[in-house]
């Protein structure tokens, strides 16, 4: 199976012609000002189908967070066009970026409040979301009383509370131990599948450094090159869910991708 086969297949597997793509980037460039302005992202063309789970890999500093920021509308591209179905994408930030004046539950409830969820329901939903990320006991803790991993999980609960059709996650599980991470993989996939079943497809763009995690989760994996960030390659992951991170097939594809990543990085080193 060649790479182009993968691509063909990916397109077929994920694009539902009845729905517009969840995210569409065409010719997106981003250059940060300054004397030594080098383009960070260069001519990115990328589509995320409605309900697709796309993983993005790339070297440190290649522009992954920048890409998500652009999709979320927090920054404007230097050139190119971006459109998001429904106009809004929920973003789980790389630094958990919780509001320090609120408790863990308060952070989640704020997301619900801003969606105009009624008060009683807010409390209930926040409890449920915190329980999903295994933080039942930490609802009333202030941000500074949470460990790094706990903060990330609260941030995930907050992002889920936004209930957007597009969810952008920036290294959401980087601070989690293997086991908790495993649990949350399962929860994320089952949530995603649940949404699909209920006809509210949830498109997820999942940025990670863990190649196996990408293969464990994604329907498609995109590898960004660095300086400038371009789509170097993409793989369609044809393995059936539920997958496990220890699966040989996962490890195999991960090894291939790692090799490619190594080549990408050494090209610039």
């Amino acid at each position: 199976m060649t790479t182009s086969d993968f691509l063909e297949h990916a397109a077929a597997a994920t694009l539902d012609p009845a729905r517009p793509p969840a995210v569409r980037l065409s010719g997106v460039c981003k250059t940060f000002g300054g004397a030594d302005a080098v383009p960070v992202l260069d001519e990115i063309d990328l589509q995320v189908a409605a309900g697709e789970l796309l993983c993005v890999l790339g070297a440190s500093g290649c522009g992954k967070s920048t890409l998500l920021n652009l999709i979320a509308g927090l920054d404007r591209p230097s050139a190119g066009q971006i459109s998001v179905d429904g106009g809004h994408a929920a973003l789980m930030f790389q630094e958990s970026a919780l509001f320090p004046w609120l408790t863990a539950a308060g952070n989640v409830e704020l997301a619900l409040r801003l969606r105009k969820v009624a008060k009683a329901e807010r409390r209930e939903q926040a409890r449920r979301l915190l329980s999903l990320v295994r933080l039942d006991g930490a609802a009333d803790k202030r941000v500074h009383e949470l460990s790094g991993g706990m903060r990330q999980r609260v941030a995930m609960a907050r992002a889920l509370a936004q209930n957007s059709a597009v969810l952008l996650m920036d290294e959401p599980f980087a601070a989690l131990d293997a086991i908790t991470r495993d649990v949350l993989h399962e929860e994320l996939v089952s949530l995603w599948e649940g949404n699909a079943r209920e006809g509210r497809p949830l498109a997820i763009v999942f940025v990670t450094h863990n190649v196996r995690e990408a293969v464990r989760l994604g329907q498609r994996v995109v590898l960004l090159s660095s300086r400038p960030g371009r789509v170097a390659r993409e793989w369609s992951v044809d393995l059936p869910q539920p997958r496990r991170i220890e699966d040989a097939a996962v490890a195999g594809l991960a090894a291939e991708i790692t090799g490619e990543l190594r080549r990408e990085i050494s090209r610039h080193a």
Partner: protein, 294 residues
């Protein structure tokens, strides 16, 4: 606190008295010990006040100035007791405090509204901020003729002078606070769907709260000082008594003991407002955000 440090040897060389005091203050009182906490809060300023009192007494005892120029603490106390009913100091104090509360309340309200409007737009902010800073420079006496012109000698005059003194300060505190909010919070808020006033109310304001409270403290000082200036303009039954007039009276009478007593009352009031008003709020804010140092 002894139960907190039973088995720790004095391994750090910084185990000075001061570090100990610091630890005393920062150690969490797991079980509420309100008396002890109150003491911990009140003790340092009280000690400082006592030290100043001692210094003052020393200066007086050294007789570097005659008694009518530099009265001693005893003289001042006597003056306070003797003049309390004679000059209606209690009423004057009450009058000033009620004006201060109303004027400051109005300043906070108005200042916050203007500040919030300015917070929403950077253009508005850069247009308004320098003017407000300029306004802050104007002494209250500059406003007195204008206020008299418009309102005559009425409470409105006093409040106008106070507002013109305090509002810029509140607005600037708020603007500065909001300008210093880490942009990530603004981004998160925006992504969560907060826009315009909701963003301000749910994200920017809470994020800027510590700086805002700082601004309010300065605003309070400005309004109190403007009030004193305004109280000197006129005596009128419609205005009622004020401590600013008492101060002026002491000056007119060349009554240094009364002047010192009045100054100490104003000072004490300021300290009280700070210790019982702003300080707990600030401490609470810092505590809840984990800004207290360990």
């Amino acid at each position: 606190m002894p139960d907190e440090t039973p088995r720790i040897p004095a391994q750090r060389d910084l185990a000075t008295l001061e570090a100990g005091l610091d630890a005393l203050e920062t150690a969490r009182s797991t079980r509420a010990e309100p008396l002890r906490r109150l003491l911990r809060i009140l003790l340092p300023p009280l000690l400082a006040a006592a030290a100043l009192l001692g210094l003052w007494n020393l200066l007086v005892l050294a007789r570097i100035k005659p008694g009518w120029v530099l009265p001693g603490p005893g003289d001042v106390y006597d003056a306070l007791v003797a003049d309390w009913t004679r000059y209606g100091i209690g009423d004057a104090l009450l009058g000033s405090i009620s004006r201060a509360v109303i004027g400051f309340g109005a300043s906070v309200l108005l200042g916050t509204l203007i500040g919030l409007a300015a917070a929403g737009s950077r253009t508005l902010r850069s247009a308004v901020a320098p003017l407000l800073s300029g306004l802050q420079n104007l002494p209250s006496v500059a406003w007195v003729p204008i206020a008299i012109m418009w309102f005559g000698i009425t409470p409105a005059t006093i409040y106008t002078v106070m507002l013109l003194g305090a509002v810029p300060s509140v607005v600037i505190g708020l603007i500065d606070g909001i300008d210093q909010v880490p942009p990530i919070y603004r981004k998160v808020g925006g992504n969560l769907g907060a826009r315009g006033l909701v963003l301000v109310r749910r994200v920017l304001l809470p994020a800027a709260l510590p700086a805002y409270v700082s601004g309010l403290k300065q605003g309070w000082a400005f309004s109190w000082r403007s009030l004193m200036a305004a109280e000197l303009i006129a005596v009128s039954p419609t205005l009622g008594p004020g401590i600013g007039q008492t101060l002026e009276l002491a000056r007119e009478n060349q009554d240094m003991a009364l002047a010192f007593a009045t100054v100490l009352l104003i000072l004490g009031l300021g300290v009280l407002v700070n210790v019982l008003g702003f300080a707990p709020v600030e401490r609470g804010l810092r505590h809840r955000r984990g800004l207290e140092r360990a």
